[in-house]
């Protein structure tokens, strides 16, 4: 049994009763990393020295009467697109291979206030562009359930490290499914909060109108605690929302009697595998047994979300990634006589193919003569997709469907064909376009690989998502299964 089989609230209790030290938790992390990291390859950078120092200081505090929050001493992993002062932050790109940030992201500052311990930085697809972690410049993280398959992406390292028991929990980021899809593939719980719930300050931007940071955990309860710690308005991010942050854990009542669930027929149709479809129908039965009611509905514009997403996210990326020019920070080409050559050569040598492809697509969609046909058209379609959701949420409390059309695929299987790879995110992308929150919770297995149930909520109603996910989790035991690493 691992210490990370306990929930945050149990570990907190053990610390409080002096039956456990923070150093025990931190050593548990590094011990497990020592055992399985050569197989999983989830980490890009470890922060061992500072983590041990911090554990020592927290253990001294443990012996005093000073107030200790619920997350006090808990070991966490961070996706490597969250900037961490004095700890290398690469976005899994050659262009930031030696980047040493000079400030901490807001979420990192909030974790410091909560007194968590950062274990290290986690692998991802380069600049969060990808669904498999195969686009990392450094390494391909493996799925702990089957080392031949991908962990998903882009927050693949964040999900794999939690599933493998290397950390208690982690943070990822989600632009088109990058928290929920890897959570589903790795059999853990991942939430994309409502756009604006969590500050993006210090998250290296991919697509600013879609990106959100969110928690990846073993249980729904832990997820609620971690979201609590990172939420809230931030003067450093003008798109963070000025709304109340409720007590998410108090929503975990187990009571879903009368909950109205909408199940979009488009989410169980073409392209969705039989095992995935069946796991969702089984999950609905479980929720029905708990007193919830469900009906089939339609989100008629779902099929257009993927095309709109790639135009919009790539357009925003092409602007955001213009800052990587080899001048102020990041990789600089040795081979440049003029400033223009310096830009071009640094970017061409520093970015991988997928990043270049999306910068090119975005530059094209925004270029003169094409703007109305592609970029503006996609923003109009975004309105239609958002209205689809608003119509459903006028009558229902949550929307339920699969997180992904299939379980995790084999490494190398989709890498040659961008469009097939993109299709993986077809069920997660619509939420990002609309800005809505959604969670993935384990709901079954197919051939030893985990499947995920996606629960979508109204704007800023993560509480109802958690209540539903928690009730389902407590009625099933999928979350108790562990990979046989």
């Amino acid at each position: 049994m691992s210490l990370f089989d306990y929930k945050v609230s149990d570990l907190h209790e053990l610390l409080h009763k002096k039956e456990l030290k923070v150093s025990d938790l931190v050593e548990e992390s590094y011990k497990r990393i020592g055992q399985v990291e050569d197989k999983v390859q989830a980490f890009l950078t470890l922060d061992e020295e500072r983590a041990r120092q911090s554990a020592k200081a927290l253990d001294e505090k443990l012996n005093t009467d000073a107030a200790k929050g619920l997350l006090f001493g808990m070991p966490i992993g961070l996706k490597d697109n969250l900037v961490t002062k004095g700890l290398r932050t690469t976005c899994a790109s050659k262009i930031l291979e030696n980047f040493d940030p000079i400030y901490d992201a807001t979420v990192v500052q909030k974790l410091q206030q909560a007194e968590t311990v950062t274990i290290g930085k986690l692998n991802m697809d380069e600049f969060a562009m990808g669904s498999s972690n195969e686009n990392s410049h450094f390494q391909t993280t493996r799925n702990p359930w089957n080392l031949e398959t991908v962990p998903g992406g882009s927050s693949g390292g964040s999900a794999a490290s939690v599933a493998a028991g290397e950390v208690l929990f982690s943070l990822g980021s989600d632009t088109g499914g990058s928290i929920r899809q890897p959570a589903s593939f790795c059999g853990v719980v991942g939430l994309k909060p409502t756009y604006g719930r969590v500050s993006r300050f210090g998250l290296v931007a991919f697509a600013s109108s879609l990106d959100q940071i969110g928690p990846i955990t073993r249980t729904v309860e832990d997820n609620a605690y971690l979201l609590q710690a990172i939420s809230g308005l931030d003067p450093m991010d003008s798109t963070s929302a000025n709304v109340d942050v409720p007590n998410f854990a108090s929503a975990l009542t187990g009571d879903v009697k009368g909950l109205k669930i909408a199940v979009p027929k488009e989410y169980l149709g073409e392209g969705v595998s039989e095992s995935v479809r069946q796991s969702v129908l089984d999950a609905l039965k479980v929720l029905e047994g708990l007193g919830a009611v469900w009906e089939e509905v339609s989100l008629p514009h779902s099929k257009y979300a993927l095309a709109a997403y790639y135009l919009l996210s790539s357009s925003e990326a092409s602007a955001n990634l213009a800052r990587f020019d080899g001048v102020r920070y990041g990789y600089r080409s040795k081979d440049a006589e003029t400033l223009i050559d310096l830009y071009k050569n640094s970017r061409s040598e520093g970015f991988g193919d997928e990043v270049k492809r999306r910068i090119m697509l975005g530059t094209f969609a925004l270029s003169s003569g094409y703007y109305d046909a592609y970029y503006k058209k996609a923003q109009q379609v975004r309105t239609l997709i958002k209205q689809d959701f608003e119509n459903i949420f006028a009558k229902y409390d949550v929307i339920v469907g699969p997180t992904t059309p299939t379980p995790a695929f084999k490494i190398g299987e989709n890498i040659e064909d961008p469009l097939t790879m993109y299709a993986n995110d077809i069920l997660t992308i619509p939420l990002n376009l609309a800005g809505l929150p959604g969670i993935s919770v384990p709901c079954g297995f197919d051939g030893g690989l985990p499947l995920g149930l996606q629960i979508i909520g109204k704007y800023f109603d993560e509480a109802t998502i958690y209540r539903t996910a928690h009730a389902f989790e407590q009625a099933t035991d999928y979350h108790k299964q562990k990979p046989g690493l």
Binding site: L311, L361, F364, A378
Partner: protein, 99 residues
């Protein structure tokens, strides 16, 4: 019919400040063509009177007081600069040479 030509891909690469080889031009032309062709399914939808959504939340401009505060130190600013001299970031010549 192909929607994107090699010439267009080279033009876009230049706008994006990317140097691409002939081989990469071929690859990106093929792939971008497939993606753009896929994206053109959006034309099935009549969006004549639909307002674009640039931002999902109903947000207004966020203003703050115009007060100065401590910025970054020179040391911090130069910490990640690939080349610097006398407290300034160094780049190749900006004038001349460019065609």
């Amino acid at each position: 019919m192909s929607r994107i030509s090699n010439q267009q891909v080279k033009h876009v690469a230049n706008l994006a400040r990317l140097a691409i080889t002939e081989e990469e031009t071929e690859m990106f032309t093929k792939q971008l063509d497939a993606i753009i062709t896929f994206a053109e399914q959006l034309n099935e939808l009549d969006t004549e009177n639909v307002e674009p959504t640039y931002h999902v939340l109903d947000m207004k401009n966020v203003l703050r007081e115009d007060k100065s505060k401590q910025g970054l130190s020179l040391e911090e600013v130069l910490k990640n600069a690939p080349e610097h001299q006398d407290g300034q970031i160094k780049v190749p010549s900006i004038m001349g040479k460019e065609d």
